[in-house]
Amino acid sequence: MKEVKLFLGPQHPGMHGNYSVHMYVDGDIIKKANPMPGMLHRGFEKLMERRYWMGNIALIPRICVVEPDINEMVYAMGVEKLAKIEVPERAHWIRMIILELARLAIHLMSFGGIGGPTGLYTASYWSVADRDLILDIFEKITGARVYHMYIVAGGVRKDLPKGIEEEIIKFLDYIETRFPEYEELILKNPIIHARLKDNILLPKEVVHELGVTGIGMRSAFNKANDIRKVKPYARYDQVEFDVPFGPYSDAYTRVSYKLIEMKQSVRIIRQSLEKMPKEGPVRVSYSTGNAIRWTVPSGMVYPVIESSRGEYGYLMVSDGSDKPYRIAVRGASYPQGLLGVEKYLPGHRIDDASIWMATMDVCAPEIDR
């Protein structure tokens, strides 16, 4: 056997974020793979210990660049648990809308993004363009397109602007007309079939071993293991939605589940707009004096939500002061991005490495933190 060392990343069109894998290949087959995280390590956990509880709100969306809102939600939930804060009813629903719009945005990116490693660039262009419409909605609601700093402990910063409900519904109507086109372009594409079907399998035992969650877990476990179902937060227990699951997890299945989940996100948003109280407070005021210098009662809690890649949580520790004592980030793709790459990328072809990373939903920013 003749081994050649190749670098996938850290600057590579097939890589998701600045992340590197050292691959030892024999011909076209990967024999050994070493994950090389670190380029995106920005020291968030250390930084969070240096900032006030309020100040961290502007910092944390950047932990997960592609899906910032889950950070805001988990952080807010953690503070609320520690401080025993009750969120107003309307804020729960607004949060759900924001989170599902964010899920739509990331799923669009990654669903269309499968076009990158397969050469189907039309899909990538479509998904980026449609995602932009969601960013427009975020801009109107929060003033920012990507990093919103909108979901805060105690609720959301401001109420929805007048008329935004109609704009959201208009977008949902539009995107629903696009789903069949995406399906035709991607899921029925012979290139995608050849490259993804029955390839890059994720057996049930591997899910167990690594701790994979999200679509990877559901497509292999044949169970609807979704935090929104198993441990509902916000108001997910008051809306109807279906979580796709199945017994056979290949790359094609995992990609197709993204489309199904997008359709369910649309469904959830529609129900939220209908069921949410039409008015009422969106944020509780729980501190007196200087709002910037909150103190949070001491304790340890692990708030957790379902991101597009699986279980996303923070282990939050407070010692009663005005800064967090310790926050550890559980990146949803940490298990597959590190141990998964090392143990299960070998055996695949070089040209499948990017598809492996894409369909296993490896997200470098949340691994490096």
């Binding site: 670190g38 969650t213 692990y302 949580g313």
Partner: protein, 174 residues
């Protein structure tokens, strides 16, 4: 009510089998238990066989004033939706612990993570000493509470003088 009842029954069951130093309920579907070092592996193995098949995160908290590093294993039961935070305290001066890779194979990289950032040695994890995120790191574990980032920066990077350059009224630099 139903959830708290089930939480209590879980605790009663554990307490009847193991030495639980303390218990806490941070959330309605969350339990935190403190154990002695020697009991962690037994309890984790038991809980895994009892449905807590997923290790969500293994991390460390540096309680500088108490002189301990606290290991926190967060495990999850997808059927019940309950997280259990299994915690133990290590001597801060010589933190050494046996790996849990035999119980939760996914712990391997978490242990390397904790070793790199906090300095905990994991016996049985042969590669826990290898750099993971901090390539060429040459100082104390940076997540320790007494790690001085300013001092490290001053030592590591030479001080520089930044000169401002102004465009003169006639154009061009002075």
């Amino acid at each position: 009510m139903l959830k708290m009842n089930s939480m209590n029954s879980i605790y009663e069951n554990l307490n009847s089998k193991f030495n639980i130093l303390s218990v806490d309920y941070p959330d309605d579907m969350q339990m935190a238990i403190d154990l002695e070092e020697k009991d962690i592996h037994t309890v984790l193995a038991y809980l895994k066989s009892d449905g807590y098949t997923q290790l969500s995160i293994l991390t460390c908290v540096d309680w500088l004033k108490e002189g301990v590093l606290q290991l926190v294993y967060v495990i999850f039961n997808w059927d019940s939706g309950i997280h259990i935070l299994v915690r133990t305290k290590l001597d801060r001066d010589k933190p050494l612990f046996r790996t849990v890779m035999e119980i939760y194979p996914g712990a391997e990289f978490y242990e390397r993570d904790v070793h790199e950032f906090f300095g905990v040695e994991f016996e049985g994890n042969e590669r826990s000493y290898k750099h993971l995120f901090l390539e060429l790191w040459d100082a104390e574990p940076p997540m320790r509470k007494d790690f001085d980032t300013q001092a490290y920066s001053d030592k590591k990077y030479a001080p520089r003088e930044y000169k401002s350059k102004f465009i003169s009224e006639k154009g061009g630099e002075k």
